[in-house]
Symmetry: C2
């Protein structure tokens, strides 16, 4: 008769929230937002479903928090990796493009998440704001790198032209990122970053593929 009650451990609020968010992200990537049910999330986080209510007053709130976490992590990851590269401005630009199109940034799971969230992003104001913020962040950074690389090559361009170049390069990078994550088998290893560097270089009129000297 002793239907032993489940044992549990008390965690800090941050740890539990993080665990619930990660469980949510993995389920959203697999089955979409509606497929990530409260019960499934609780199970994956190894917790009973009532606990979710204790940390997030609603499923909507959990999903929004998960999206925010994911987007921030992605942006940070990209910039962190790319920032490690030493060299000329041209090298920096090439590195950002490469980083954006290689694992762990370019990754089927990340694209699956992007796709799963798209509906909600288009309808929920808060998620839309998060999306636009991270998008603008990336694009401004890219624009700065393009300007620096062109300066370095002795080329000056108007602000209008620079804006156009950044939009074009950003579109190509994001597009290839999506494409690579959606069809990982359509490209040979390393092919996607190569296409990205080639395309971005062609658009702005610099050869990004030739590396500067490195010791």
């Amino acid at each position: 008769m002793n239907d032993a009650r489940r044992k549990f451990k008390r965690e800090t609020a941050d740890q539990r929230k993080e665990a619930l968010i990660q469980a949510t992200l993995s389920l959203v990537a697999e089955k979409g937002v509606r497929g990530a049910t409260v019960r499934a999330i609780a199970e994956r986080a190894d917790v009973t479903q009532g606990l979710i209510r204790h940390y997030f007053s609603t499923k909507e709130e959990l999903v929004t928090a998960a999206y925010e976490t994911h987007m921030t992590e992605m942006t940070d990851l990209t910039f962190t990796i790319a920032a490690k590269v030493q060299g000329t401005a041209r090298d920096h630009l090439a590195a950002l493009v490469r980083t954006s199109l290689e694992p762990p940034v370019a990754d089927p799971r990340a694209v699956a998440l992007w796709a799963s969230f798209l509906n909600k992003v288009q309808q929920d104001a808060q998620m839309k704001a998060t999306h636009e913020r991270t998008y603008a962040d990336f694009r401004d950074r890219l624009q700065d790198l393009i300007r620096a690389a062109l300066d370095e090559a002795g080329q000056s361009v108007s602000d209008t032209r620079l804006h156009h170049l950044a939009t074009a390069c950003n579109g190509v990078i994001d597009g290839l990122w999506l494409e690579g994550g959606a069809l990982p088998d359509a490209f040979a290893p390393g092919e996607l970053p190569g296409i990205g560097v080639e395309s971005v270089g062609a658009i702005i009129g610099l050869d990004l593929e030739q590396r500067a000297n490195q010791p």
Copy 2:
């Protein structure tokens, strides 16, 4: 007391199936596959839910049929529009790129559908096959146009190189298509086709933006 039974009209099987499929697609675009419930689909098609069972033995079957219809329509649409252009091989290539990145092909709804279906496409064998077939169709066609344009310009390339160029251009086009549909406000009208033509031209080494003479 006379809870008048709902009046109805008998339609042909094809008409009803088509109506149900269109209702399904519009709901999937808005709310994802799980959000497109049998009851919501029936309501949008102005029919009671039991009827769906009469034409499709399961919701899965309806969703699969809807996906197939959508993908086929998209491919046909793209090729049909692009094929109307007269001119040189270079013009044909430019037209395909432009068509792919303009309405009605490039369109937020189409991208929303793509995103909503992504999960299922990756998991369901039949949908995966449909996806790969339409993808390969487009890419082969693109490759032929690239070869013709290069021939015309007196340039010959190896098969390996041609394959790489087609992959790169296809990635850029699909990527920009996704990007444009996901962020319709990020680009000025006509900007996206311009970026596409510019990028594809840069990748293959031809200026696609200069039109051949047209009467």
